[in-house]
Amino acid sequence: MIYFLERRFALLLLLPLCMLLLAFFLWPLGVVAWASIYDGGFTPRGYATVVGSGLIRQVAVNTLSISAWATLTSLILGYAIAIHLARLPARKRTPYLVLVMLPFWTSILVKSFAFTVALGTSGIVNQLLGWISGGAWHLEMMFNRIGVIIGMTNYLLPFMVLPIMASLLSQNPSLPLAAKIMGAGPVRIFLRITLPLSLPGVAAGVLMCLTLSLGMYITPALLGGRKDMMLANLIDFYTRQTLDWNVASAIAVALLAVSGVLMLLLTRFQRDRGISHA
């Protein structure tokens, strides 16, 4: 009886959130799905365009590859930062956490413009490289894939650092200690204990970064070259410039489906791991 009441109470508490999601997420999503098959009458035109257009295919491949690279760099950098943060005492961690969160508080447009100052031909990095090498070294980091990956990594890092750090902090500190007593070196401790135990955090971070980067728009447009177009740009083109909402919705639904499959695969991977460890 008590259990039943608690459950009812929990449902009651969940109600506002459910209403919010229904009104501002599920309903618009339904409208998009509807627009992808209905344009003054039922039509397969939207999806036929998605499947048949070489342009959309090419841009989809771009989107997946850029997202994968940005997630990978975020993972490598983010893991290193998370380990460092997790090993600091709680009081010292706070200022560093603020630094990690900093990209959240800056407008993505402003940040992208700021990258010009850092990465450009006469930017800080290239001036430094030129000074070190006497003018011989120069890196093209703007208006190409590298610029896009750097810009996106900057945006994605907090989403990677926070879940990984949380999973590192929740590890039992006596486990590495025990391993050390048994004679394991730091590399072995990391590979056999820390890393496997942090995988749920890694999976969560990768999932978030991948989903976020699949929908990115402004950063690739400002920092990328002509070949770095993403699907979101195309959706914008069909939505705002040609008002062809049928095709725009079809691309959006296809993108959602791809993200959905990716998410499913990742959560399955994580669950399988969980079972094998149990």
Partner: protein
Amino acid sequence: MKNNERQINAVRRTVLKTGGAMIGAGMLGWPGLARSQTRSIAVTCWGGAYEQAIRSAFAEPFTKETGIGVNLINNADLTRMKVQVQGKNVSWDVFDSIGPQIMTGAREGLWENIDTSIVDTSGLQQKTGADHVGTYSYAGGIGFDPKRFPEGKHPTTFAELWDVKGFPGRRGLRSRISENLEMALLADGVAPDQLYPLDIERGFKALDRIKDSVRKWIETTPETVSLIASNEVDFTYTYLSRVLPAQRAGTSVQMSMAQTLNSLEYLAVPKHGKNTEAAMRYVAFCLRPDRQAAFCNQVEFAPNVPAAMDLIDEQARQRMPDMKSPNSIIVDDGWWGEHYDALQHRFTEWMLT
């Protein structure tokens, strides 16, 4: 108990009375409002210096003359306009926008036909369609930094912009096909008066020639100036309305006036509007020569009403492109209205390969 109820009723009555009185007072305060049914109209706008000029040249004088208030709505876009018209719940009475948006809207049937008994379109320099009017034009051309590229070192015409050997430097062009195709054809030797209808195949061939010299296909308009200022590109396709304010702010940037592409800004009145007549009167007001002159004196636009030219002050006339010269090309938005979608699609594919 009874007493309580009476008190509550009394309070309710007072509230109703005061409220009614306040609304009444508000109506009386504006004698003009009581006469015309409309209180105010909403007009879309672009913010910044443009909004200020619209306010002082059109909106405020219009209110003074007709008693109809004008609310300027910034960040309006065609997507939301379409939703409003489709839902027959229109809150913007006049849509002020650039060619591609107005033409797409016209194709979608969003605009009411211009009421020629209110709006006199006979005197317009550039004639436009039945459901929109061109108000004034803005000039686009080659931007450069005069310190890095003094006279003779920078391209002045599109043929020179395409001449990557004669004028070496990193180019920055827009990431859309309109204007690029015109530039490519002019660069390829098409005479300005023979430009339209555009020769699409020849244009794309000419674009092939410059493709690898373009460092950045620019997405946002501010970048056409900021990338020159930060020395990331050398020559961009930019706009006078961006270059002159940047100059005044101290940036070393200049635009060649030897050859310009001039695009019209348009006004259109959406269907199912609640204030259609007032909206038409506003459109007519904006085409009056004295108002056109007042506007073009303040911002970097040229009037679409020739009679306004005589009323514009000397300083403003100096900076405008000479619209009588064949090298001041007027972009044909009507042509683009029919071709933009397919060509932008092809252009995007072209960029990815």
